[in-house]
């Protein structure tokens, strides 16, 4: 674990050094690729501006993720329990996913206003789909013999759901949550492109218009760091709490 982290850190530093040296040695023009040091200088000089963007985008991502995951869990469970509901609504879910969010991002902003909630909605929308699918599939895969055993103990639908279906589906739900948090971050960043004043997404657009390459790279690095940290957090939770396999 420690050595893994150490070598990863070393690789990262090596990469940054390579970047710095490469840009200098080959004389790449600054408007094509800034040096790593220029990027970090920009980052250091604009800490509170970037910090505000991080807080905003992270809030959108997390609130959207929580809402989307909840919606996904509720619908996924409902589909798993009721065949009719699944036949009725599941195709709708799939069709809705075939339309790229970008296509109706503008609409969401018009409906929900140009503040945090339109971005939260887009993040939630992206998170909900994988969570719905995996919750449903995970619960449907439950072993019928174990269902029979619990029923022989006198378990009703409620006890079956919480004591068997939910824990049985957790590994597949956890996989969806990891995907969902990454999609939520994308949703939040892209959501800001439809117009806002704070957030990493809108800062990226501003950097593009101003051809401020160091800023752009600073933001890319920050976005990447957030994505990796969020994913790693879920990975850690999964390892610690949801280690069992579905096929038993």
């Amino acid at each position: 674990m420690r050595t893994g982290l150490g070598s990863q850190l070393a690789a990262l530093i090596g990469l940054l050094v390579l970047w710095e040296v490469g840009v200098r040695v080959f004389g790449v023009a600054p408007h094509n690729m800034p040096t790593a040091s220029a990027v970090f200088r920009d980052m250091a000089g604009n800490m509170d501006l970037i910090g505000r963007g991080v807080v905003r985008t992270l809030s959108e991502t997390i609130i959207g993720f929580v809402i989307g995951a909840t919606i996904g869990f509720v619908f996924g469970s409902a589909f798993a329990v009721s065949r009719t509901l699944e036949r009725l609504l599941f195709p709708l879910f799939i069709v809705s996913q075939a339309i790229p969010v970008i296509a109706f991002g503008a609409l969401v902003v018009m409906w929900l206003g140009n503040d945090i909630w339109s971005k939260v909605a887009i993040a939630a929308y992206l998170t909900a789909f994988p969570v719905t699918v995996n919750t449903c599939r995970g619960m449907q895969a439950v072993d019928p013999q174990r269902v029979a055993l619990l029923r022989s103990f006198g378990a009703g639908p409620w006890a079956l759901f919480w004591r068997l279906r939910v824990p049985y589906a957790l590994p597949s739900i956890a996989a969806a949550l990891k995907l969902g948090i990454s999609l939520g971050l994308i949703g939040a960043i892209v959501g800001e492109w439809f117009g806002d004043t704070v957030g990493l997404g809108i800062m990226l657009l501003q950097a593009m218009y101003n051809e401020n390459l160091p800023r752009m790279w600073a933001l890319i690095l920050v976005c990447g760091a957030i994505g990796i940290l969020l994913y790693a957090a879920f990975e850690a939770i999964e390892r610690r709490w949801i280690w069992w396999k579905q096929e038993i």
Partner: protein, 274 residues
Amino acid sequence: MDGPADSAAPPMLQLTNLSKTFDSGHGRLVALERIGIEIGCGEFVTVVGPSGCGKSTLFNILAGLAEPDTGAKILYNGEPRMAPELLGKVAFMPQRDLLLPWRRVVDNAILPLQVEGIPRAEALKRAQPLFVEFGLSGFERHYPQQLSGGMRQRVALMRTFLFERDLTLLDEPFGALDALTRSLMQRWLLDIWQRHQRTILFITHDVDEAIFLGDRVLVMTARPGRIKLVLDVPLARPRPPEMLTSPEFIALKRQVLAAIEEESIKSFQQVAEG
């Protein structure tokens, strides 16, 4: 010791005319045909029969998980019961241990109590004294994946025993164990049974096991499953392992084997015919 089969007491379980037909895509399959049995309070009854003769099907019906054909009568403690009414009334241990991998040994054992609505602390208190008896002390906090086959089976048995019901159904509980572990478990089960005074119906493929454990042995016919032979086992208890080679034991075994042999041949022919 009071005799288990007190003739004055009403039977704990009485089945009359119990049949079960499965309607599948390609025709009807009669799994059980006109089964009639009576089981006394505190009795240990073993069931043997060729594979596929409907033993597990019978248990599923008694546990309330499947409906028998119309016309069947099930009297449980003297009261007529429809199949679903038996859910939660019978302690049922299926052929596989079916432990839940996310629950520790203790939590697997108390699962039926929690389903009943008993708080965890209270359930743990009831389970505590059984760990030594079931050879699981020190393993309370292990997960099922960390146990051997024999131990997993004991956890499943403990779960079944903690679910205190008038009737206990055990479907081949030792089927997957090696001969040595199996004979240890048999003696251990008799011990537990005598101490806890339960009524047990026990499925097995092993004729020695059926006679060694049972007050009575039921032999079933090949499909459709009927009761072919009901054999009383008048061997004294406690039964020492040497009993397996005694002449009385051998004589009983000969009778059971003869009945099974006939049925196994029939069941083999059924399979050959398709």
